[in-house]
């Protein structure tokens, strides 16, 4: 892998930034059981990604818009009380996928890029993408610093969390916002359907062995960095999408750790 090529360097920087996000937020996604939410946001952003190119807008923005539409849709469906939440999520996701497919293949006629959209273009990033990811990481770090106690308490003892007052009321929504931002910057790199490969798998792996939150976050960042760079290398050498490479690498490590830790 030619380390002096700018596109490789950008890819490496992005991988490291994403591993930071994986460490900070991925840990919370796993601890607070928001894995499906993250998966959903990534998937739901797909139609947004499709229109980004033709509209000449940053994919992160259109992806964000699509993700917000999806989140709003699920929330609204839940309010009607005529369909259960998990069904609403499933329906909204498949609607997003179907709309994305039609936009990609029939409206904008960009079938080749469907693969890219689904599996990422870590090797085709611009400086703007890096800045956006760095911004998302900064936001995540700040929120983590100020809200981690609320996030922890809310997860394990909601009654006490309520007693903590106003902060608890905004803490969780802000966590969800941070997750949405993280998903949105990750999806350009690893694709809409494999956002969880970066944000969830490393944290889940480390969670199997790490007892405390700080260890979890640090360990996850490290593991995500290794998997991100490793996946990038695999993607380059084998000419496959970076998202799938990272997913397979991450999944294998997870299976290994799970098997070993169970047999001890």
């Amino acid at each position: 892998m030619p380390l002096d090529a700018p596109f490789i360097q950008r890819a490496l920087i992005e991988a490291l930034l994403l591993s930071g996000l994986a460490g900070v937020l991925g840990s919370w996604i796993v601890l607070r059981r928001f894995a499906f939410f993250a998966h959903g946001v990534g998937t739901a952003a797909f139609p947004g990604l499709v229109v980004a190119g033709p509209a000449g807008v940053a994919p992160q923005l259109t992806g964000l818009a699509a993700a917000l539409l999806y989140a709003g849709g699920v929330e609204w469906l839940g309010r009607t009380r005529r369909v259960a939440t998990d069904a609403a999520t499933g329906l909204a996701l498949v609607a997003a996928l179907a709309i994305g497919v039609i936009l990609a293949s029939d409206v904008f006629e960009a079938p080749a890029s469907v693969d890219r959209l689904l599996f990422g273009s870590l090797l085709g990033l611009s400086d703007r993408d890096l800045w956006l990811t760095a911004a998302a990481l900064a936001v995540a770090l700040v929120l983590d610093l100020r809200l981690r106690r609320s996030w922890l308490t809310q997860g394990f003892d909601p009654a006490t969390a309520r007693a903590l007052g106003v902060r608890a009321a905004v803490a969780d929504p802000l966590l969800l916002v941070a997750i949405v931002l993280a998903c949105v910057v990750a999806l350009d790199a690893v694709g809409a359907l494999l956002v969880t490969a970066v944000l969830v798998i490393p944290a889940a792996t480390v969670r199997l062995v790490a007892p405390s939150v700080p260890t979890l976050q640090a360990g996850t960042a490290a593991l995500a960095a290794v998997e991100g760079v490793g996946g990038l290398w695999l993607a380059y050498e084998l000419n496959i999408g970076p998202g799938p490479a990272i997913a397979v690498l991450g999944g294998s490590v997870f299976a290994l750790v799970a098997a070993v830790s169970r047999w001890r």
Binding site: I29, V30, R33, A35, F36, A38, H39, T80, R82, V83, A84, D86, A87, T89, G90, L91, L93, V94, A95, L97, A98, I99, V101, I102, S105, D106, P111, V114, D115, L118, F119, L193, L194, T196, A197, V200, I201, A204, R207, L208, L238, N239, I240, G241, G243, P244, A245, I246, A247, V248, G250, G251, S252, F254, A255, A258
Partner: protein, 272 residues
């Protein structure tokens, strides 16, 4: 007007597509009602996402997609079952790991060889390319699912409605939930050729959600779900033909649109 409705189906290609989608709809509709009643929408989506490697392997090996689908579903179910049993993580996280890892594996397999598998068709279906044999295979699977649901109807209802009293009334809930998941897997296999593994779940969830919105009683819900699914199939194919859009996606969106329509209709609480 009649021409608009009938012309598309004058050719054998569209007739096969119609047969495929109708046959699949008749199984997915009722099955979807049970999936919703058992709150297993995540399982439905997970299984279909995670079966990708099986499909890819079959496609690359030139084997029947049916075999690949069954293999894929078994691996997916196993992985999901193993992953969700780990108490350290909680069900959702383990399942998310399993799905993305398997999905990634499918993509790696699909994209790396010199002659890549036609990933788009595996993901989004190839409704307009189904052969007569595909339709027969789907019909057999759908029939198995439909008959099984009919025979298991009362036990499924008991286990979902009142798991506490179900054993004393003749049904052990754990067993029947497993039966449902097995039928879900079979139904997904039946639907995957035409709808693709990402969109198949639309025919399972949307018509059922619409039917449960409208139907006051279970047998009506089951029949209505089948009808809505079939209607979605027809409407989707019509849209695909007249507006030149992807067939599988059109059927999926038609199903969801029909569900959306049911949201504005009043809910029936008692029989007329």
């Amino acid at each position: 007007m009649i021409d608009w409705l009938l012309d598309p189906f004058s050719g054998s290609l569209m007739q096969r597509a119609l047969a495929e989608v109708l046959v699949v709809a008749l199984a997915c509709g009722p099955l979807g009602v049970w999936v919703l009643l058992y709150r297993q929408s995540y399982a439905a989506e997970s299984i279909s996402h995670a079966m990708l490697p099986g499909l890819v392997v079959a496609s690359l090996a030139g084997a029947s997609l049916l075999v690949g689908a069954i293999g894929g579903v078994l691996v997916a179910a196993l992985a999901i079952a193993l992953a969700s049993r780990d108490e350290r993580l909680g069900g959702d996280v383990g399942v998310a790991v399993a799905i993305s890892a398997l999905f990634g594996l499918g993509a790696v397999l699909a994209l790396s060889p010199d002659v890549p598998a036609r990933l788009g068709e595996l993901l989004f279906g190839d409704l307009l390319g189904v052969t007569g044999r595909d339709v027969v295979e789907a019909a057999v699977l759908a029939a198995v699912v439909a008959v099984a649901l009919a025979l298991a109807h009362r036990r499924l209802a008991l286990s979902a409605f009142d798991p506490a009293a179900a054993p004393s009334l003749g049904a052990r809930p754990g067993r029947w939930e497993l039966v449902l998941l097995a039928l879900l897997a079979l139904c997904t296999v039946a639907a995957v050729r035409g709808m693709g593994n990402l969109l198949a779940v639309a025919l399972i969830l949307a018509p059922a959600a619409g039917a449960l919105n409208l139907a006051p009683r279970l047998p009506i819900a089951l029949a209505l779900a089948a009808a809505l699914a079939a209607l979605a199939g027809v409407l989707g194919l019509l849209a695909s033909y007249h507006w030149h859009v992807a067939a599988g996606a059109s059927v999926a969106l038609a199903a969801i649109a029909l569900f959306a329509v049911t949201l504005v209709l009043p809910r029936r609480r008692t029989l007329a």
